[in-house]
Amino acid sequence: MNQLNSIDFGTPKSTSSELITLEIDGKMMTVPKGTSVMRAAVESGVQIPKLCATDSLNSFGSCRLCVVEIEGRKGYPASCTTPVENGMKVKTQTDKLANIRRGVMELYISDHPLDCLTCPTNGNCELQDMAGVVGLREVRYGYEGSNHLDLKKDESNPYFTYDPAKCIVCNRCVRACEETQGTFALTIDGRGFESRVAASQNESFMDSECVSCGACVQACPTATLTEKTVIQMGQADHSVTTTCAYCGVGCSFKAEMKGSEVVRMVPNKNGGANHGHSCVKGRFAWGYSSHKDRMLKPMIRAKITDPWQEVTLEQALTHAASEFRRIQGTYGKNAIGGITSSRCTNEEVYLTQKLIRAGFGNNNTDTCARVCHSPTGYGLKQTIGESAGTQTFDSVMHADVIMVIGANPVAAHPVFASQMKRRLRQGAKLIVIDPRTTEMVKSPHIQAQYHLKLLPGTNVAVISALAHVVVTEGLLKEDYIAERCDLKSYNEWKAFIALPENSPEAMEKVTGVPADDLRAAARLYAKAGNGAIYYGLGVTEHAQGSTMVMGIANLAMATGNVGREGVGINPLRGQNNVQGSCDMGSFPHELPGYRHVSDTTARTLFEDAWGVKLDPEPGLRIPNMFDAALEGSFKGLYCVGEDIVQSDPDTQHVASALEAMECIVVQDLFLNETAKYAHVFLPGSSFLEKDGTFTNAERRISRVRKVMPAKSGMSDWETTQAFSNALGYPMHYSHPSEIMDEIARLTPTFQGVSFERIDALESIQWPCNESAPEGTPTMHIEQFVRGKGKFIITKYVPSLEKVTQKFPLILTTGRILSQYNVGAQTRRTENVRWHSEDLLEIHPHDAAERNIKEADWVGIESRSGTTVLRAKVTENVQPGVVYTTFHFPESGANVITTDNSDWATHCPEYKVTAVQVMPVTQPSQWQKDFKKFDEMQLKLSQGLPVASAN
């Protein structure tokens, strides 16, 4: 089924700079070499009939509908598989071609249901279109012969159906699963007339290897693969382009609408980050925005054991403002603060930190990046001068060696993983550095050349050892370093890294990585024409997170791998707008644009614009807010879109801190774990209900567009503005574009950004200013942002978290494809069908030692606490290491994580927790208490009092 208002060019665009001139139907035209005759025709305004061709996939030439006549050539070549040539003369319409095409359609229709009027793709079906285009008037074969009309539908997938009775075996779905997604879950089973699309070993879609990305559905020209929402609702009448609210890829989507209801989300093929692809979350898991759990009314209560009382927004804000000012009057100006999140648009984050700095009068603002990529901001700022990645996603298509460290993009950045896999299938080499055997290590047609399976907590030892090889084996790019790097720091670093203590042989003892493998991996990366490093939270969420980021930068600079396409330092930012929330000044020590609050020039700029004096001292980070709350000096919190109780480490510590506060204001879609400790609830708005921008991992600023009215009556930015006014700090924006205009006036890297400019360019990668009016896809080309790149010594310091006899295993954490972060959104969709609980992965050896079998309940105990999960016995983890996800609050994954954190940024060390695991027969005490507390809060949310609430 086609997207609304979209032209399908039939075959992919050629990127050649060489031009070819040909004649199509008497008209001369010039196109890039490598363009198909079909695409050239479409570009000249001539539609050649087609069924198996679509511009997201390589040509296939099976349907024989697109045949043309080419002067001087025998027969009737398929225009999709025929590349243009100079002087070619093509006819797309002749009597003979018309007869051939009608014949082809007769065959198709002879084995196809004739239920067009009740078919979900009626009016938007390419088969139907082609029957009309070729002038089909009769099917001389009749309908009594062998056919496939009795084949049963596969409705196992919650989001789409597969109806084999309607399949024309064009192979588009199979090719989409291979070329676009890279999962290779589909094939054609049988030969000739028996050919049918099969998922895996002829299983249902749900049981197969299908990851439900929907690429097959999008590619299907008939109703064979159709979204269930289209079946239920009918087809959309208009579409609005917006940006996904899940991961840091930031896929562009067309929200296809019927009135103010979403019918389906279709990836935008002009999306700079995703080029028309998506994953199960972005494409299908948007139903949470209308889930029954949505809280749409403001509420207040005096104590967290009181029932919630519904009030007007004005009443809620007046109460919250009055409480905050009371707290400041009693405990001091610094006794309140706020937390922003990636759920907020750039404009909303900017407003919230402005409210805090100008309205609260302090710098107690922090954001979700604290617990994920804050070390990236610190480490890259120190070494290369900018707190962001250096490339576009497309850059990977020019990489020769790809090193993935502490990241599993197949789960956490699936659309980018698909692109990376495409490059790997073209021949690029892969090095994976991860304690687990993730899907990146081995998948269809892809095998990592080296999988350095290190022990959690030893990243810096590995990166230092890699650099040691580069330095001692003469693999340095000396010319590059001499020209672009600070030589003093380089020489100091070089002398340090060459020490024998940093050798692979010396480090093998701590890392568990065989020295030979590490040496070979280092050589592979260093000798690559283009070596690119991608990394995730397996790098940052460590006590040496910032050190490791600097180590990565050192290695990239030492090998000349920064400053052009195909290389780079690429932090895979996990969330849709975590880059943006950092850019917008959420940190307690940095104003928008990463300028320190003590920087008088920067601060004066904002003071003049905002009309108030600003505090020149850094404020509290999130962990410090908790400590200050327990100590009695921090009493009020405004938390927008972030669930700190579930996402931050050492849950019991966080809960105690919140209980010690006097006024917690939560602004969110749902009554999440943090809201259960709140005194004021302000209903939030989903990404479908607001205008603004998100910034993805590529620094790409994209529009978020309101496709429906805010269900609560106001978008988040409007609520924050109203809160500011209630507090006495006036804000009077009438549209988020005005907020972006202000950001652009005050932030040099955003100087050229505006809604109008983004609309004109589809998206903009900052910096965007006079020297880069269309943005900056690749950074540090002529020189590093800080001038000369700085090498920083990265000595390995073991984590304070030690394995002992009592806690002999190391727990590390991560994500799964179908769920997203704390699961607030995805748990409220059909994605729970793939992952309905967090499991503990344990190696068969460790399981056998403890008499643990698959699916047994196991207690996981750390120095912080205990929780209970079901076991999954797998060799994906190594002996001595266990692993879990954190998508379900009742799992209590963060009950057991500790308060150890990165030395520079306080990013929690989620990836290294010493634990013991043993079979159990009941939930942990924490889980029992959680259940009671949860049930109590549910009653209170319904306005019901709870007896013995204490």
């Binding site: 001292e617 000595k795 030395w903």
Partner: protein, 48 residues
């Protein structure tokens, strides 16, 4: 009275971690300046 931003135990733990990072710098003066600068930038001049 200025509010206490961080209790002594947490402050010592943090300071030791910061110290462990900077102690590998060959120039001790630069290392000490680095520690002081980092603490000041993150925690404020009260801790400088």
């Amino acid at each position: 009275m200025k509010e206490t931003l961080m209790d002594a135990e947490n402050l010592m733990k943090m300071a030791n971690q910061i110290g462990a990072f900077f102690e590998s710098m060959p120039n001790q003066e630069e290392a000490q300046a680095g520690i002081a600068n980092h603490i000041k930038k993150i925690l404020g001049s009260a801790y400088a």
